[in-house]
Symmetry: C2
Subunit: 120 residues, 2 copies
DNA sequence: GGAATACTGAACCATATGGTTCAGTATGTA
DNA sequence: TACATACTGAACCATATGGTTCAGTATTCC
């Protein structure tokens, strides 16, 4: 399998598909934190947490800065606009699709009523 | 690695993290389609597309029904409410966090101005 | 200087993912 | 009945993912 250019949307949805990482984002929404703090909070080795932070950072959802020996993680600059937009677009398609179905159903109902009237 | 219960959010974000699958959703937003049609549209083997549809179906984003030898895929019943809600919540955290920073910046500015006035 | 702290990187492991081929089965059609 | 169509399932492959341990390096503190 050749790995084609992974879009940002690919990366961020993938980043969001893990409960630990979503938790980290929530956490960072409340306060910045070091890798050690996050690792403890989520009962995980430092190395493991560092990987998760790496994934979030790659996706642009988190930024980090090392001062002395401590690397501090903060929420990234992106506000998930792109992701929200995608979902919104999907919802529009979904709406359109189901409204269409509704119309068909309405149409059927009207016909039924008409038939009913004919019979009586 | 033990696989813990995968939440629906895990599954749907994972499902959305692939461009082909997002494409399939867009496609189904326009019209229902058979596996064969989707496979052709996305230049992939039937089997490959079937797997993608399986992932989408598992995540509840697509439903399928087999009539005769044709399996027709439709948009699922879920409108991605849960996902939209999660992202919205994240955006609120993000806002709160950055407003807080803004306040700090404001505060610093005010102090600077005050210092400036003192000096002149 | 020496110990503790905080991260970093390499190596390893099991399972998941995204694809393929190939060999069916079931259904529709001439 | 025979052939084409449409899917299904198993097996396989390479790479990714989510975790670990272990052995560093860089900083801080006594």
């Amino acid at each position: 399998m050749v790995q084609y250019s992974r879009t940002r949307l690919d990366a961020s949805f993938a980043a969001l598909s893990d409960a630990t990482r979503r938790g980290v984002l929530e956490q960072l929404g409340r306060a910045d934190a070091s890798i050690t703090e996050l690792a403890e909070k989520f009962h995980m080795t430092l190395t493991g947490m560092k990987k998760h932070v790496g994934v979030l950072e790659q996706a642009g959802l988190v930024t980090t800065e090392k001062v002395g020996r401590v690397r501090t993680c903060k929420l990234g600059l992106r506000e998930l606009e792109e992701e929200a937009a995608w979902i919104e677009r999907y919802r529009q398609l979904w709406d359109a699709r189901f409204n269409e179905l509704d119309k068909v159903v309405e149409e059927l109902k009207r016909k039924e009523q008409a038939d009913g009237r004919k019979k009586t």
